[in-house]
């Protein structure tokens, strides 16, 4: 039979395994395309070159990747301390709801130069609030945070639908679901005639801060210890609960910020089509980035190239929209395999029959 044995190999070997497997996933997919009577080379070229056609095209990739970086960041923060936040989608929704309520009803009480700041601030609060429940359940009664945070996603989405179908519905909107458009003072400013908003730079700054926080501060060190070896942390008498709580709330706040960024930067209102799975994509992004916050933007941009490029492929080659998801699945599988094979070796063992 076949078993996996741990092994140590050089970095170059690891990288070559990785490239070999990812390349093979593209080859398998090319075979599928070939049977569909499409030219795989042309399709790959379209996916990977259109985003670099000009600055505007690339800016759209950046725009698509911004919420993904944030949700990935959210998942990653929790992972670093050994927690799984599967509730990113729900926290994103709550962040968007908080931002929307502020933008629609409370801007009049504040000077207009502070509107955007508060709108973003409340998205952080909303996200953190929604992550508070699973973590408090975990710390008080040891209820698994994976399950509770996941289930809260559905609650959040139903709450949001209730709001834009009911109390928050645009009174001038002919009864269509969705709030009114927010006042311009809360719109995220766009840069260089593209849709890139300042949110991107806020996100990148936060990621850098987090990286140095983990690397340079004693608290950051404690977090790493708790995440990688909880028993050692216990032995060292770290105040685990406080840190677990703080990190999970921070994780929720980042998810909330993703929601705020989406409603203030893209939709400019709360309506159908907000919760489209950025929270779940964030898990993939965090995993592909291998818990490294600095890799996160690169991974997110790669995933966004696939998504944006696929749109182009659709409209040029009339391939079904689902095909990117298939390609994404292939790449993820290849990555998983590469990770396994760079740490383990597949060996054949003879089974002895009695």
């Amino acid at each position: 039979m076949l078993i996996l044995r741990p092994r140590n190999i050089s970095l170059t070997k690891k990288i070559s395994i990785f490239f070999f497997l990812v390349l093979s996933s593209f080859l398998i997919f090319a075979l599928i395309l070939f049977f569909l009577k499409k030219n795989p080379l042309l399709i790959y070229k379209t996916i990977f070159f259109t985003p670099f056609y000009d600055f505007y095209s690339f800016s759209e990739v950046i725009v698509k990747s911004t919420p993904l970086i944030l949700t990935g960041f959210s998942v990653l923060i929790a992972i670093r301390i050994g927690l799984w936040n599967i509730g990113v989608e729900g926290q994103l929704v709550l962040g968007a709801i908080f931002s929307s309520i502020f933008s629609l009803y409370f801007t009049k009480y504040f000077p207009s130069s502070t509107h955007l700041f508060f709108a973003l601030f409340f998205s952080l609060v909303g996200g953190a609030l929604w992550s508070f429940f699973p973590i408090i359940l975990k710390l008080k009664w040891k209820i698994n945070e994976i399950i509770s945070s996941l289930l809260l996603n559905y609650v959040a989405i139903i709450l949001m639908e209730h709001l834009y179908f009911g109390p928050l519905r645009d009174p001038m909107g002919f009864g269509f679901p969705g709030t009114a458009i927010f006042p311009q003072s809360v719109w995220l400013p766009r840069l260089w005639h593209t849709r890139i908003s300042i949110a991107l730079f806020i996100v990148l700054a936060l990621i850098l801060l987090f990286y140095f926080f983990l690397k340079k501060t004693p608290t950051g060190y404690k977090i790493k210890v708790i995440g990688e070896n909880p028993k050692a942390a216990q032995y060292a008498h770290f105040k685990q609960k406080k840190l677990l709580l703080a990190m999970f709330l921070l994780s929720g706040a980042m998810a909330g910020l993703a929601g705020g960024e989406e409603v203030l930067g893209i939709h400019r209102r709360l309506q159908q089509g907000l919760a489209i799975g950025y929270g779940y994509d964030g898990i993939i992004a965090a995993f592909l980035a291998q818990k490294n916050p600095l890799l996160l933007p690169l991974v997110s941009i790669f995933l966004s190239i696939l998504k944006v490029g696929a749109e182009e492929v659709q409209s040029v080659f009339h391939l079904s929209a689902s095909f990117t998801q298939v390609l994404e699945g292939f790449i993820l599988l290849a990555f998983l395999m590469a990770k396994t094979f760079s740490e383990f070796k597949l060996t054949r063992v003879k089974t002895v029959k009695n």
Partner: protein, 365 residues
């Protein structure tokens, strides 16, 4: 002097020769569509795609058509901007959430034409269009009434004016049919409504249809994009009425009739107007009179005389006689909402948030 004039002449000739074939041919119109879901979704997007195919058939080489599937609100602006930058002459947004992103892009590309389905905003280069589905609902209800169905169960979608209007029209048609057919019925309760709170939700469509059937309803009115509530009805041996596309084509063989979106003729109309330079933005809301809707073939079990009566009424709609919402019409509480002989205005219809007498169920908030 001579040299320059020869040069000028030859340049002129060259330009003329190169561009002459372009004059002889009509300019090819580039048309793009942003679609809500996949073209084989058996509902809303399939109906839009059927329209696209119709456009390609009718216009042939005069159009170059492109489309993108699964354009949700978060991606809509990018898709529109992309098509606009590529120089598409007409860009269609086929679902409500496309409205605001389209408006933003339309303002940046004033020379291109934008058309949005089912919304209410327009701009100098952006029009909107929709079909008066309530006319078809009225006919379907009329048919059901003539056949004596007096306890219909409706699996409704979102509690907003468009489906509400449809439910009301269906119920009014049903009451008319029951009266003409001489059937006995309870005027308070001929049509029971339950809500999906979604445009499509195959699992809940099935569950709600099954619940209605187990409560003894004799006909299932599908209102979702997907045919699942009709399919569930067929499985339990109860007839159904399809919506949006022909549900019978997707396996719901018990469907007596389907009401169908027919976008093709409108797409052709817009392209021809843009070609001729006569296109103007408008809020276009039309029904059978402009061929924006069709009915599927009747199920063989629908009696010939019922078919003829429905077709006679259809003919009236085609001639522009739309008397669906002519009073007297009462609401569920028995208040007179439309006085005898009066007719609801389009604004009343577009903002309708009350149910007519005969409907069982409420509008959830």
């Amino acid at each position: 002097m001579k040299k320059t004039s020869i040069l000028a002449l030859s340049i002129f000739l060259l330009v003329f020769l190169v561009s002459a074939p372009a004059w002889a041919q009509k300019k090819k119109v580039k048309v793009a569509f942003a679609l809500l879901w996949t073209i084989d979704d058996m509902g809303w997007t399939t109906a839009a795609y059927n329209g696209i195919k119709y456009l390609q058939e009718k216009m042939g080489d005069e159009v170059e058509v492109s489309y993108t599937e699964k354009v949700l609100a978060a991606d809509a602006e990018r898709v529109f901007r992309n098509y606009a930058r590529k120089g598409y002459d007409i860009i269609f947004g086929t679902t409500f959430e496309h409205m605001d992103p389209m408006l933003m892009v339309a303002q940046d590309f004033p020379d291109q034409v934008f058309e949005h389905c089912s919304g209410y905003k327009t701009a100098a280069n952006m029009g909107n269009y929709f079909a008066r589905m309530y006319q078809a609902e009225y006919l379907a209800g009329y048919m059901a009434g003539l056949m004596g169905f007096k306890n219909v169960g409706t699996v409704a979608t979102n509690p907003i004016p468009e489906p509400i209007r449809g439910i009301n029209a269906f119920t009014l048609g049903l009451l008319k049919g029951l009266k003409e057919g001489g059937h006995k019925y309870n005027p308070e309760k001929v049509n029971t409504v339950v809500w999906l709170k979604a445009w499509r939700d195959p699992i809940n469509e099935t569950t709600l249809a099954e619940t209605l059937i187990s409560r003894g309803h004799d006909l299932i009115r599908q209102m979702a994009d997907t045919p699942d509530s009709s399919l569930a009805a067929c499985k339990k041996g109860v007839p159904a009425i399809g919506y949006g596309t022909d549900a019978a084509q997707y396996g719901a063989k018990c469907v007596l009739l389907s009401t169908i979106w027919n976008w093709g003729p409108y797409f052709v109309k817009v392209v021809k107007e843009v070609q001729a330079g006569t296109w103007k933005p408008e809020a276009y809301w039309a029904g059978f009179e402009e061929n924006m809707l069709t009915l599927s073939p009747f199920h063989p079990s629908v009696p010939k005389e019922v078919q003829n009566k429905v077709l006679a009424l259809l003919e009236k709609f085609k001639q522009g006689q739309d008397e669906v919402f002519v009073g007297p019409i009462y609401d569920q509480k028995g208040n007179l909402k439309v006085k005898p002989g009066e007719k609801l205005t389009d604004h009343d219809l577009l903002t309708m948030r009350w149910l007519v007498k005969g409907v069982q169920g409420t509008i959830p908030d």
